[in-house]
């Protein structure tokens, strides 16, 4: 971490304003193919950066309300990668997929280039002077009616909300609505009432049994990174790990991580909570009657729950009657003594405090409809999409005389605005957040604004000063000064704290408005199926849809990218006569959608599930158009808290047509191959290793001496193929012939063995590693509808390339089901992050005709792009299928398939080659990080320290499942982990001697812990 500039009069922003040293292609000379490039120097060298060496700025991620700490890596004035801030109390160095992808919000090609004003019915570019003048005029015009103006702000903690309310008060306007469309408002309202805090700390480690009623704490419910860290830590304790039971009609990612799934009918959760206690008087028989679950399962649940102390009951508010359910869960928790032990208000997530009820938006819509709202201001919220059509918000908004948007990325709401004053991205602006009460997470610009945008706070100050408003007199001419003035200790203390990114301190708590009386909800329209709309694990309620990394990331559960599907149980699909991809017509009282079928065993036969977040209007940018908008199916209804209900009754019929699913899944079953292996706790305690490969050498096949299926080979084998083949290899080479492969070689490379362990007991399948890998390794996204050839009618549109298996993810998350084939409800899931295994005896290497892939002495399976001629033999011969071929010129700007339209290409990692067409690529174990560390060590005249660096996937992982390092040196953590009792190699019977070692998942069966 390098320091921010000491505030010596020069703003850091100013000295980043010098022109970055870069190269620009100008023209070609002569007959050589080389282009004339220009070397553009700085005008004045910035004194804290070294060209070619990264500078790091600590800041705060604002893509969800939790406000995790980030470290922004910048190179020559551009942010190229985000990592978690290890000092931050919530994310402790990890970062989720959404946080990683916030870079694509910064460099989004659809961002507004500058202020826009509506002229002749269209938004046209204007200057800031002009835009501010128009804004000032409108504020003055509406001065008399100012108390009816509405400002809708994206909910955030920190100093900005109170600053904004001061400004609004000065303008005679009511306080801003603080809205977070992704937050589970019913749970927050219930938490506030029950625990006294908006989001209590969940001490997974203190619990023996966790029962979740649709509380998807690994899917982005609440502060998902901190919850995932705590959950993974608790589960990694193996013998004393808590057992997780998930109850609900659909298995979410959290549900797939559960040891047991009880498939209760949608809306029946309350009966089961009442059965568990909390003064409820529901018997298991009654609960079974209501939930459609076998009474024996519920009786066993009750017995197990009564015996397990301490326990934890969590409830999600997105279930019907969410707030009642959450309050009932609290009653159970206070009955068992869980409140204060497993669920505590100390260390609570502060980011959700002060949030306003979504029902406030409905009230705004009613007022707008009645013509009472003269002026609407919106900042980073998209109610025209998030408030479903049936709420009438968008239609009502059209009646507002003047609409101002501060959002910098176009969306449905901004498209209706009369004036757009684009805000800076959070990586371009000053600010702070309060993630935990008493701790500030500081936000500083890591780079100059990409476009002609301005921080909203600065715009508000400018307008207020122009209007002669005294609150913003001299000394607070920009928001940074406001921040300094509010910071204890002032400028010097702030400059001191910025490199750490966190500081102690507190901000004014927001006072949310009293929630309006909810509109009649209950009694969902009858239908033969229960429709559940759930927030997409990474796209959320729609905010992530304009980021190609998040669109391309296969949903951790369904493995579907770019598309919106209707999930249904196999028996439902049989009944409707549809298969994967066949369209079904889902109809509710609000509307209908024709969606491709996705057959999922983790859903009740009477339930249909659709992910929210996709299917935006064209105005929301080129990527957000993909898929369908599930909100179109929801009749507007609120629960008791004012949260919008995400379920309804639906009719489902077979529809014409079929779409090939953009899935990265080959098979959902392992077919005995032992890819994701598991062991039960009891077996581990008995000293057994659990399951392995179930297919045995059949009759007539030769059993190879040293075959790994005979005896598990702990740790890692020698890197040379010759050694790995044992007596089947050629005669042993002499030291001289081995060259750098000899341990005696002066370079010492053969004394290293880069290796990785993946602990499946920790891995939750969240896929943050996948997005981190995209960011680090310049991996192109291929699923946009203009990136594929339009040949087959069922293979066009978004995801077409993925239907052809052309996705480029070097690291993919495989998801396999065990059990449940017989139609039984419960099954077990294995998540396996699968990347190049860097085999010691790699099948890809001998088949390459041009020596483009080979084994390095330090244990890497290397792909040399400039040697590769694209025969794809290596991919054919790879048993792990982790090699990816560039079918098109995804890295070439002049091609339509270009994956990094300006300015997305600003994010590209300069240390990694952007691959051209016809080249094979794959996981490199982040070789650029290995070289960078070696170079740094050499500069400091030392060797590489144990655990000095790690790969991008391991660094981001919010479950700490991935460990990377030098397995040949016992001082590295990984060297110990490869010999863990749970260690295994995938396909070890193939004698590939992989450098990636998996640690078996641990299963906690009911009653198996004693």
């Amino acid at each position: 971490m390098s320091s921010d500039s000491k505030t010596t009069g020069v703003k850091r922003r100013d000295f980043l304003k010098v022109i970055g040293a870069g190269t620009a292609v100008a023209a070609s000379i002569g007959c050589t193919s080389e282009k004339v490039e220009k070397l553009i120097p700085y005008l004045v060298s910035p004194d804290e950066t070294v060209p070619g060496v990264s500078t790091y700025y600590a800041s705060t991620c604002r893509d969800c309300s939790a406000s995790c700490g980030i470290i922004a890596e910048t190179r020559d004035g551009r942010v190229i990668k985000l990592e978690g801030n290890p000092l931050h109390p919530l994310n402790r160095g990890a970062l989720c997929a959404r946080g990683q992808a916030s870079l694509q919000g910064l460099y989004n090609p659809d961002r507004y280039r500058g202020p826009m004003v509506r002229r002749g019915g269209k938004l046209v570019h204007t200057t800031w002077d002009e835009a501010l003048k128009v804004f000032g005029q409108k504020l003055a015009e509406n001065r008399a009616n100012a108390q009816n103006a509405v400002f809708i702000n994206r909910h955030e903690s920190g100093n900005f909300p109170s600053f904004l309310n001061t400004w609004l008060a000065g303008m005679g306007m009511p306080t801003a609505l603080s809205i977070d469309p992704d937050a589970d408002y019913a749970a927050i309202a219930a938490n506030k009432q029950a625990y006294g805090v908006a989001w209590p700390k969940l001490e997974f480690g203190a619990a023996k049994l966790i029962v979740s009623f649709g509380a998807d704490f690994l899917d982005g419910w609440g502060s998902s990174v901190s919850q995932q860290l705590d959950f993974a830590d608790a589960r990694a304790r193996i013998e004393t790990a808590p057992r997780l039971i998930y109850i609900g009609p659909r298995r979410s990612l959290t549900g797939l991580n559960a040891d047991q799934w009880i498939n209760a009918r949608s809306g029946s959760e309350l009966a089961i909570v009442h059965m568990l206690g909390g003064g409820g008087t529901v018997s298991p028989e009654q609960a079974a009657q209501e939930s459609g679950v076998d009474v024996a399962i519920l009786t066993a649940l009750k017995a197990e729950f009564d015996a397990a102390k301490p326990s934890m009951v969590l409830a999600g508010g997105n279930t019907p009657r969410g707030m009642e359910l959450c309050l009932a869960a609290f009653n159970v928790n206070s009955g068992t003594g869980a409140v204060g032990t497993t669920i505590t208000s100390t260390g609570a997530v502060n980011g959700f405090e002060g949030i306003d009820s979504p029902a406030q938006l409905r009230v705004v819509a009613q007022n707008m409809q009645a013509g009472k709202v003269p002026l609407l201001m919106v900042r980073n919220v998209n109610p025209a999409y998030g408030m479903m059509k049936s709420s009438g918000f968008a239609n009502a908004m059209a009646k507002v005389a003047f609409k101002v948007s501060f959002s910098s990325i176009p969306d449905e709401t901004t498209a209706m605005a009369d004036l757009v004053l684009p805000d800076n991205h959070f990586l371009e602006s000053w600010g702070d957040a309060e993630p935990v009460r008493g701790t500030l997470s500081l936000q500083q610009p890591a780079m100059d604004p990409v476009f002609d945008t301005r921080a909203t706070a600065d715009v508000l100050i400018a307008v207020a000063r122009a209007a002669g408003q005294g609150t913003f007199a001299a000394g607070s001419n920009d928001y940074r000064n406001v921040m300094v003035s509010r910071y204890p200790g002032g400028a010097a203390a702030l400059a001191d704290a910025l490199p750490r990114g966190i500081a102690s301190g507190t901000t004014t708590a927001l006072a949310p408005r009293a929630a309006p009386a909810p509109v009649a909800a209950e009694g969902a329209a009858p239908g033969s199926y229960a429709l559940i709309v759930y927030p997409h694990p990474v796209i959320g309620m729609g905010a992530g849809a304009n980021k190609p990394w998040l669109q391309e990331l296969p949903d951790p559960v369904t493995k579907i990218a770019w598309q919106t599907v209707a999930e249904m149980h196999p028996t439902t699909a049989t009944k409707l006569g549809v298969q994967n991809g066949d369209h079904v017509l889902v109809q509710t009282s609000a509307g209908k959608l024709s969606l491709p079928t996705y057959v999922y065993i983790g859903i009740r036969p009477d339930t249909i599930a659709v992910a929210a977040g996709r299917g935006h209007a064209d105005a929301a940018g080129r990527y957000a158009r993909s898929g369908s908008n599930a909100f179109d199916l929801l009749p507007y209804a609120e629960d008791r808290s004012g949260a919008i209900m995400l379920s309804a009754g639906a009719q489902v019929t077979k529809d014409g047509g079929s779409t090939r699913l953009a899935t990265t899944e080959g098979s959902a079953r392992q077919h005995g191959r032992g890819i994701g292996q598991a062991v039960t706790v009891a077996e581990l305690l008995a000293g057994k290793t659990g399951e392995g490969v179930t297919e045995h050498v059949s009759e007539g096949e030769v059993e190879l001496p040293g075959d790994a299926s005979h005896a598990f080979l702990p740790g890692l084998r020698s890197p040379t193929a010759n050694d790995a083949q044992g007596e089947l290899g050629g005669p042993p080479l002499k030291s001289k012939e081995k060259g750098m492969y000899s341990p005696d070689h002066w370079s010492g490379m053969a004394k290293r063995r880069w290796a990785m362990t993946v602990d499946l007991a920790r891995c939750t399948g969240c896929s943050a590693c996948v997005t981190a890998c995209y960011a680090e390794n310049n991996i192109p996204t291929v699923g946009a509808d203009w990136q594929g050839a339009k040949v087959l009618p069922d293979r066009t549109g978004f995801g077409a390339n993925i239907t052809r298996s052309r996705e480029m993810a070097w690291l993919r998350l495989e998801r396999y089901y065990e059990g449940g084939e017989d139609g039984g409800a419960d099954f077990n899931t294995r998540f396996v992050p699968m990347m190049c295994q860097h085999c010691g005896n790699a099948p890809c290497e001998p088949v390459c005709p041009v020596y483009a892939t080979y084994h390095s002495p330090d244990g890497l399976n290397v792909q040399v792009y400039n040697r590769c001629v694209g025969t794809r033999y290596c991919s054919n011969n790879c048993p792990y299928k982790v090699r990816y071929f560039n079918w098109f010129g995804y890295g070439e700007p002049n091609r339509s398939q270009y994956a990094f339209p300006e300015p997305l290409n600003w994010q590209l990692n300069p240390d990694v080659t952007v691959r051209g067409k016809g080249v094979m690529e794959k996981c490199s174990f982040c070789v650029q990080r290995i070289r960078e560390t070696e170079n740094r060590a050499a500069l400091e005249h030392r060797g590489v320290e144990p655990d000095e660096f790690t790969t991008a996937c391991a660094e981001a992982c919010p479950s700490r499942a991935i460990t990377f390092g030098n397995a040949a040196d016992e001082k590295w953590t990984v060297a110990g982990m490869v010999n863990d009792r749970r260690a295994y190699h995938v396909f070890e019977e193939l004698n590939t001697y992989t450098a990636v070692v998996y640690l078996k998942k641990v299963i906690h069966p009911a009653g198996g812990q004693a």
Binding site: I19, I40, V864
Partner: protein
Amino acid sequence: MKTKRKWLAVPGFLALAAAAAMLSAYAGASSSEGNAPAQPVAFPHSLHAGGNMKINCVYCHFSATKSPDPGLPAVGTCMGCHTVVATDRPEVKKLAAFWNKKEPVPWVRIHKLPEYVHFPHMRHVNAGVACQTCHGDIQNMKQVYQQNSLNMGWCINCHVGRSNPPLKARYDCAVCHY
């Protein structure tokens, strides 16, 4: 007629292939060796790095010892001297014009490795490889040109210890190509 054509086509194709092979091998088709483009300001390295001044290379190329990137002097660095030194010379006037317009000088790049090659300057400089080893007799060049081919074989020659004096370095592909 048809058979005749076929017989002509085979040796013709072979000749073409041979010519292509010769060209790529000997004509330096993949190298810009000898390239000496005109620069927007005719900066004489011979005067600054050689001659009487003998300014240390890293005075201007300031990050060559600490970064993969050698560092290109900012216009401000040039103006550090040239606000007072030799302000009457036509080329210095050109430089001052850039400075006054607050525009960087668009130097034409000469030494360029392909994007798939990673060349860490600091590792070489700190290992005692002189700048001249790769960049040639730069202190005597009035106009800079590319003296060496900078092709892979040329690099490897040193890495395997055939330079004079012999220097050794790793020559594994993934040391430079990733």
